[in-house]
């Protein structure tokens, strides 16, 4: 593969991720509006919000660390996208593997933690400590799920996992082959998106929106952009691991939207758990399913 081709892919993949992410944000808000019995935002709303936030005329910054950390966080999510293969674009997916991806996925949280720490707002600090707790809660089941998938397919390379699943049509999809593991993975993905009942760090009524409390203007805009990437990443990752990945965009897009739709819809009918309940619940159920799935894989 020549360098120009790679470069085009490196630009194209985040761009697609962003655009699809915008639509996912719109879906998030529309689904919410529907359940709340109202109309919801216009189609371009996510874009308006981001442009508006970046075009704020005064910007408050809490020191260099604030700015750097936010760039680190944004960089983390963008980097994540180029490791996620999508139809026609493999990016760096062949160079890196699942393990790299899992590490990359922690960068945004850590970057955010650094940035919020620089703001010195107690609500932000509590929020970020909750966010890290939540990460612990979902990362362990996720690790187990990833390990199970890797064991099942005998590889950590995502293109290879996709290829293996696409070999026999739907019957070779992860969700059919390893349903328990897929369930554990779905719960972990749900928690990864940070939606109620697992949303503990952006708790307006408790800690005044936690990490976001001091984020304004472009920083808030960055968070909005990150949300697009994150929704997309979770959708793609789960699709890649369990739903046969992407062969054509026409079949790939519905899959990733379907994955994201489940937590986005269910979040509206639950309140948030307390921090320790999230830990308990995730380890008990998500972890339980993941372990059971892993055991099944190992036993096979």
């Amino acid at each position: 593969m020549d360098f120009t081709h790679l470069f085009v892919e490196l630009v194209l993949m985040p761009l697609i991720a962003f655009l699809v992410g915008l639509v996912m944000v719109l879906m998030l808000r529309k689904v919410r509006a529907k359940i709340e019995r109202r109309i919801g935002p216009p189609l371009l709303q996510p874009l308006y919000d981001i442009v508006k936030l970046y075009s704020k005329k005064t910007q408050v910054s809490h020191g260099p660390m604030h700015e750097i950390a936010m760039m680190v966080a944004l960089g983390g999510v963008i980097a994540m996208e180029v490791f996620l293969p999508v139809p026609g674009l493999n990016g760096l997916a062949e160079k890196g593997d699942l393990i790299v991806l899992i590490y990359l996925m922690m960068i945004p949280s850590l970057g955010l933690a650094l940035g919020v720490g620089a703001c010195a707002n107690p609500n932000g600090s509590i929020g970020i400590s909750r966010a890290l707790t939540a990460m612990v809660a979902y990362d362990i089941p996720l690790m187990i799920v990833v390990a199970g998938v890797a064991l099942f397919h005998g590889t950590t390379s995502l293109p290879e996992i996709i290829a293996a699943q696409q070999a026999g049509g739907m019957s070779t999809w992860g969700i059919v082959q390893t349903p328990v593991l897929a369930l554990g993975g779905l719960i972990a993905a749900y928690a990864m998106l940070g939606k109620e009942p697992f949303e503990i760090y952006v708790a307006p009524a408790e800690i005044a929106t936690g990490p976001m409390v001091e984020m304004s203007g472009k920083f808030m805009g960055t968070l909005f952009v990150m949300q697009c990437f994150q929704l997309y990443a979770v959708g793609v990752l789960y699709t890649t691991l369990f739903l046969g990945g992407g062969e054509y965009w026409i079949s790939f897009l519905p899959k990733i939207f379907a994955v994201v739709f489940i937590p986005l819809a269910m979040t509206n009918v639950f309140p948030r758990y307390k921090t320790e309940d999230v830990l308990k619940w995730m380890w008990k159920w998500a972890g339980g399913f993941a372990l059971a799935g892993l055991a099944l894989v190992v036993m096979k």
Partner: protein, 380 residues
């Protein structure tokens, strides 16, 4: 702030830290502040800080004519203004020895109960929102709005009706409004199973709300807790039944209680009260067409109305608890003194400050909302 001017705040080394809840905080009902000292997630001490909504009601009421205060009183409590109007009006009637026509009494009871339905629907939304579940709030507020439409039809205003005046009410009911109210009640009742699905049978909600802000019966009695909060501790006391006013002794209704005394019990009591209010409203709808007569008694010209000297203490069961108005007249055209005993004044300061310590940070907002503490009536 500019980056170069930024200096991080230095905190002394301690496991305790201060966290301000409010006045600008989504976990606060209204404009109110709580100063919490926390260790980890656990509240060590909690201090209420009010006065952000202070308007000096009691002072400016002394500056206005008896009738002018009709416009002032509902503003004391924004979410549930009708009991304010009713209590003030009744206090003045007691001072002046006025006999309210029967029809006015029934209409006033109708307003009071409809307002209770409103307040409770609002409350469910508020309680759910403190736990991060907004669908319930959206539903509750939306359904409440249908009752506000009825209020608008009867009184000409949605929130501040200024409808109940000393001596009766200001307008008779418009044609057909009882039928429409009846339909709205049917609708609200039909919505309750949906609320049950979403909220009252929600495992996560119950997990979050049980055991939060628990009041024992003894605490409730000695801390002056009233209203649904008292009934959630198992004491079936209700001003409507034990110190009846208007035509409440002619109505048939139950006084629901719970025993747990926690946030969830308070919410369940209110759910049951909502049903009871609907039951009362249905009785009123059935009876009102048969009650004829004037809607207010003859009053002197309000510009020159001297209410006889004396003092009275009038009480009403508002959606939040016992509401009291102590009104003193010196025989003049203006009240000499009006003391408002807002039901929340106990709950938002005294009780909250005592329930706070030992609770979790994430439950502070829930405790405040579950007590249905309404800051404007604390600040007055």
């Amino acid at each position: 702030m500019r980056p170069e001017n930024y200096k991080p705040v230095q905190h002394s080394a301690s496991h305790e830290y201060e966290l301000y809840f409010g006045p600008n905080h989504p976990g606060i009902e209204g404009n109110y502040a709580l100063k919490c000292v926390l260790s980890g997630d656990v509240v060590q001490s909690l201090r209420a800080d009010g006065g952000y909504l202070h308007r000096g009601f009691e002072k400016i009421m002394e500056e206005r004519l008896w009738i002018q205060n009709v416009a002032l009183v509902p503003r004391i409590c924004v979410p549930d203004p009708v009991p304010m109007e009713e209590t003030y009006a009744r206090a003045v009637e007691m001072l002046g020895g006025l006999e309210i026509p029967k029809r006015a009494q029934w209409i006033r009871a109708l307003m009071l109960e409809a307002s209770r339905v409103c307040a409770h629907l609002f409350y469910f939304g508020g309680h759910a929102a403190t736990m991060g579940m907004y669908s319930n709030m959206f539903w509750g507020v939306t359904d409440r709005d249908l009752i506000l439409d009825i209020f608008e039809e009867i009184t000409g205003a949605r929130i501040y009706h200024m409808y109940i005046t000393p001596g009766g009410v200001r307008r008779d009911l418009p044609e057909g409004v009882l039928d429409r109210l009846s339909k709205v009640l049917d609708y609200v009742e039909s919505r309750l199973p949906e609320f049950d699905n979403l909220f009252f049978d929600n495992a996560v909600v119950i997990n979050r709300a049980t055991g939060v802000g628990t009041l024992t019966t003894e605490q409730a009695l000695s801390w002056g807790v009233t209203g649904p909060n008292l009934r959630a501790c198992g004491l079936p006391f209700d001003v409507r039944r034990d110190d009846p006013y208007l035509i409440y002794d002619e109505l048939d209704f139950d006084i629901p209680t719970e025993t747990a005394g926690d946030a969830w019990a308070r919410t369940l009591v209110r759910r049951e009260e909502l049903l009871q209010s609907i039951r009362i409203l249905r009785q009123i709808i059935a009876t009102l067409p048969k009650v004829g007569g004037p809607i207010r008694c003859a009053l002197p010209n309000p510009l020159a109305w001297n209410v006889p000297a004396g003092s009275v203490y009038a009480r009403t069961e508002s959606s939040k608890g016992e509401l009291g108005f102590f009104v003193v007249s010196k025989g003049g055209a203006k009240p000499w003194r009006v003391h408002v005993r807002g039901p929340s004044s106990m709950h938002a300061v005294h009780v909250l400050e005592r329930l706070g310590p030992g609770s979790r940070l994430e439950d502070v907002a829930q405790i405040m909302f579950s007590l249905d503490a309404c800051p404007p009536e604390v600040d007055r």
